[in-house]
Symmetry: D2
Subunit: 406 residues, 4 copies
């Protein structure tokens, strides 16, 4: 049936003026980075359910990530979190990754799990704590050098829970100081990706609370600093695709941390709560990828697509497979938008026609297309079934419970 | 200065038609229950900062609670959480409380920290897990008998993270089954307080998601079942005072879990984010306390005012003192509302006049009034300063770090 | 291509265990009521853009509605709004509808556009205004008798903008009084559908603010009173499908006012902002339609699916066509869910499997299925194109601007 | 009593280290601009209730504004809205203002009530509409010259309701073009205040959706462009005081449009829903007014404090009096914060102490202070009572109903 389905799909898209060979080429190049911490136990403040079979070491996390890549063909790099992924020899970690067909992706400093950071890390009023925090940032630059990572991915939990607890403007200056010092330590091929978050764990104010603040730091730092959009880090109703389009236009969109949410930073599987929103994000990306302006196209080219989720009740590896498949699915759908059709309708003020031209692409079932892409790449047609058919899930049970958790 | 201030205050209130003796009498009777778990370490999913000096046992938690009561005169009872406060002999716990001038307050079952409950406790599709969960509810009824507690305070983390994960209507029936069994086990003087929560830790649907669901269970169960309003468990913008008034009118408002929030269930100190909202809640309560209908007055009389917070960065005992003082402050202000003035303005369609009559009460500084009340009750004028001047904070340091945490 | 596409679709669904003949039968029976006011001008508080060609009379509104029904086969009834659709002879309006192949649907009283209602209609503290408002409710019962309508659809703008402006509990009693009087005037075959809304135009409290309040009134009134869910009337994050499932289980879900939103009550085209949410609502409905309990199935049978939107920038008739097609699309997808597959996965605790079984149905492209249904019913394959190919849009331009607006 | 009250208040503040003479001096200099449109009829999309006595002309609006200023001493300037306040001779309008002791404040272009602007004004894809819109901006610069206004206050309703309706990045460029043209037309002493709004009337995306976008335009334009913060234009939970502090630090906070909200852009009286939030905004302002950096102090000096509300059910003039009094009240409270006390507590990590030092200032009753300030300025002690005692409310009834509305 698969062949018939693809032929029919191809015919249908051809009639719409979509070049499926181009679409397939884009899908074959598409990459999503998975996070080492997504393979370990995590959860909510109420309870972290420990699963049997989670990796015990950074090396085992890479092994799980390699399985995801082998089955999906989408995930050749793995983000690491320091100190969760601290090893004595990062060269060895890099080699291990390479031996598995992977590379080390973004390096993520951790500045929120040390007692010293209770009232802030780089924005702490105690200069010795700021020093310690900044040193950790510098350490991560060094690790990036050793692991061959391009991106330094920065999320700060820094903020306050109550008015008066800290001087908002003073903390802003301290943040800039630390970022500046880190920025200067980076090599010319590195990028600093600055993440923002509206709230949690700080509940009154968060030092980098929205894209505007992250963007402003990036601007002050220089061209190697960009904004990282975590899809779960917004206030209710925020139009994320607008922010994405805006940052692309400013050539400051560095990447994504994908996940999904219904209420707050729920950290559910990307694409599971509002798949249309994910599609609309990719609509902006695909539109910009075709821009007349080369610098816009370049910006899109360099976007780091990364997963950042906290699977509390799901099986880890299948949850990661589902996540990257969901991203791939919405990207594929966005590639089916006929941008001329949208533009023409918009141009003549046909609101319903323009909307229809976008939504119609979302309504296609891209299963035949994705099957074809996988087949052509020599991948299993259905990565999830392939995983379940493999012995890997059983083998890792030998690891036992309470492996490396964050 | 205190005397002058109070005299001036009294004169001012007299001119407004407020009977301060009545106000003081109400304030002297006012009680707020503190939770045993509020004295231990808790926090966010990112990090729980462990403090030196937190209690190591349920007995030590009571000792800390007794200090708060001694200084504020407001907190004669302490809620317990099972199994966090499990002891072999609850009679001994009760005696210990009594020896400290306290009683054991609401008993709170815990149905969210056992691995079995990952996909639900009383709504789990596995009947043996539902049985286990219901047995725990019954155990808590027994504990309430042993500790002389009136209230069983029920919060269920039960819910789902994804569509399809559970059958919403089936789970609703299972919830009712468990509650019914517990209800029948209660003695005639006990109350079941049913708490609701919009989200977290379940991020797609929560089995008891809002007051309407909690209320509906209470109605189906009988007159000893009532609704517990946790001020942090609502969607953005919810008018909590409306819900409070509504439940009072239905004679189903059993009590409060006080805390405050700006974004989600932030669990900050009650009254610290939007003190006016807390005042407006008490406005509805005070208004109903003066109702012509005795059954309404009775409902108000029985409301359990309880703190439920998670202090992550604050000193535990001072945070609790601050919390109960904030509640007392807003209650005091609400007692200054001239309800006739409000009603007359409302009656003549004077929107601004009615609003002013309410807000004006909020704008008074009730410090002289509270000082007078404390003085007359033989309490320290400033409980926070009295705590800081005491040796208690120093003495408990000997307990060390990592005491009993939840 | 259409035939090939349908055959392939049929084969695919057969393999999944879906009986397409049953699905098509359900789709052929499906009905969506359109509102007379959806054909006129409306908009935001900032500006109502008047369109050329909008109907000038209730009779012309019916003519537009008939076009939508003729093209989609979905909309045999039209809701009316009194006094916007006031005519001297409602029998004539009914006959006109019938001559167009339509019937008059729900009767909607209007209690918010008279100066008298500034501070409330049935909850106004002035008894003569309450009387006037209640009389209007009774008038609408009479109109329903004359027009052969089954449903009385009630939305109250009643509420307050400031604390103190009205007595929340007193207003609650007045609301019940008015509803009771109306309820008693209804004939045995009528239903009262009680709508709720979180906010707007009242910005402090709304008298019927959520499903719980609407449900509670329905319960107090009797079996002919049910809840009307307007999808745009919730606080951010509300799980509407949970409410839907809950109300079905209580046999009190009377109907829907469909529209969509991203921020507040945005009144956009249903299914345009988050189509997955609409699908998930239908998932609950379809699941309940197959319930073992006959009374649950009956409840589902009687649900009134209605559109309620405010098209500000869209062409009116095409916007209505798009709306009903979006609803039909998501209903069709929900009919493709294999409930046994979901239940089995859920039963074995396979969270990802259960989620996948639901989401997979959403990902199908139901175009071939809907084409087949339309063909078999003798309808145009593509109702939107058929409308654009017709002369109707041009003909109505003769009506000019500023027709009947609300 | 007033004297006694003030003496006591003074004594109390002195003990806290607060210099009341300084506080009074600041209060005497404080100015709030009222909007001409706040004196006319406005409301919600459901109904605008027309009041008897609203002004019929821009000249009468100024007369009402003059009454507010005469009674409060706070409102020497009046913002105008073009074309609502279009007059043939702006010099005459200016003179009329001056004869009433007023000046013309910010000039507000209106680019949302013309049929041409249905799909955008300066971001419309039709170049002739963009031209028309930009011309209106230039016209407003001319009006500002004629009226002697310093500020051009820009709010754009521009945005889209559906994906695809417009090209987000293209519209961004068009926005910049229009702003640039206007900026160049301004004289050296003028300021462009750029307002942002999360949503409404556009419900998918708004071209200037948040402070970050407004700020970025301001940066690109030059030093005379600044951000205007409308307190009602944010997503739920937004920390407005953080944004305020941030913009001050960047020297780009141009002014405020004050109002309050509980749900969306409710446009209620400022300070009526969450007075503490208003206080916390002023806390940031007062803190910055004492900054060591002169350019920060300068920024604060130039902030335009303006009211922007839509009174639907309130009497217009009393609503305006209440609004400016509420702002004055919270400013007065913020002036009572002992910043050293806050800073010292924060420095030693005393979260509760720092919070208390801020909140304590809020809890003072500043009535005696405001009475003293008014007395010293020769103003009525209670402006609201003075208004009610005057004949003005009765006199304006002669204007009849349906005066100038927007």
């Amino acid at each position: 049936m698969s062949d018939k389905a693809y032929m029919l799909f191809e015919e249908e898209q051809k009639q719409r003026g979509i070049d499926l060979e181009h679409v397939k080429a884009k899908l074959k190049q598409f990459k999503i980075e998975t996070p080492s911490w997504g393979y370990g136990d995590s959860g909510t403040r109420f309870k972290v359910f420990q699963k049997v079979g989670v990796p015990r070491t950074p090396f085992e996390k890479l092994e799980d990530a390699a399985v995801v890549h082998r089955l999906t063909g989408l995930c050749p790099s793995v983000a690491i979190h320091i100190p969760w992924d601290h090893v004595d020899d990062y060269g060895k970690l890099k080699s291990h990754a390479e031996s598995l067909g992977l590379s080390i992706g973004a390096v993520n400093p951790n500045l929120f799990q040390d007692d010293d950071y209770m009232l802030g890390s780089v924005t702490n009023s105690d200069p010795s704590i700021r020093r310690k925090a900044t040193d950790h940032l510098l350490e991560c630059v060094d690790i990036a050098k050793e692991t061959g990572s391009r991106d330094l991915s920065l999320w700060f939990a820094d903020g306050t829970n109550y008015p008066g607890q800290g001087d908002i403007r003073q903390r802003k200056h301290w943040m800039l100081e630390a970022l500046t010092e880190m920025y200067r330590a980076m090599t010319a091929d590195m990028r600093m990706l600055i993440e923002y978050k509206a709230f949690e764990p700080a509940f009154y104010h968060t030092d980098i609370a929205d894209w505007g603040m992250a963007y402003n730091y990036a601007q002050k730092l220089g061209p190697q600093a960009e904004v990282l959009v975590d899809t779960g880090h917004h206030l209710p109703g925020a139009n994320i695709e607008h922010i994405v389009a805006y940052l692309i236009d400013e050539k400051r969109l560095g990447g994504f941390h994908f996940n999904s949410y219904k209420y707050a930073d729920d950290d559910l599987i990307v694409g599971s709560m509002n798949p249309y929103e994910l599609f609309l994000i990719f609509y902006q990306i695909v539109l910009a990828a075709n821009d007349a302006d080369e610098s816009i196209r370049d910006t899109v080219e360099k976007i780091a697509f990364m997963i950042d989720q906290s699977h509390n009740i799901e099986q880890k590896i299948p949850a990661m497979i589902r996540s990257v498949l969901n991203v791939q699915t919405q990207y594929a759908k966005a590639l089916l938008i006929n941008h001329e059709e949208v533009a023409e309708a918009a141009e003549r003020g046909d609101v319903l026609g323009a909307e229809d031209a976008v939504r119609r692409a979302f309504e296609f079932d891209v299963t035949p297309l994705l099957h074809a892409v996988r087949e052509e790449k020599g991948l299993p047609i259905d990565p999830m079934k392939a995983y379940q058919a493999s012995n890997y899930a059983t083998e890792i049970l030998a690891r036992g419970k309470g492996g490396a958790s964050w």
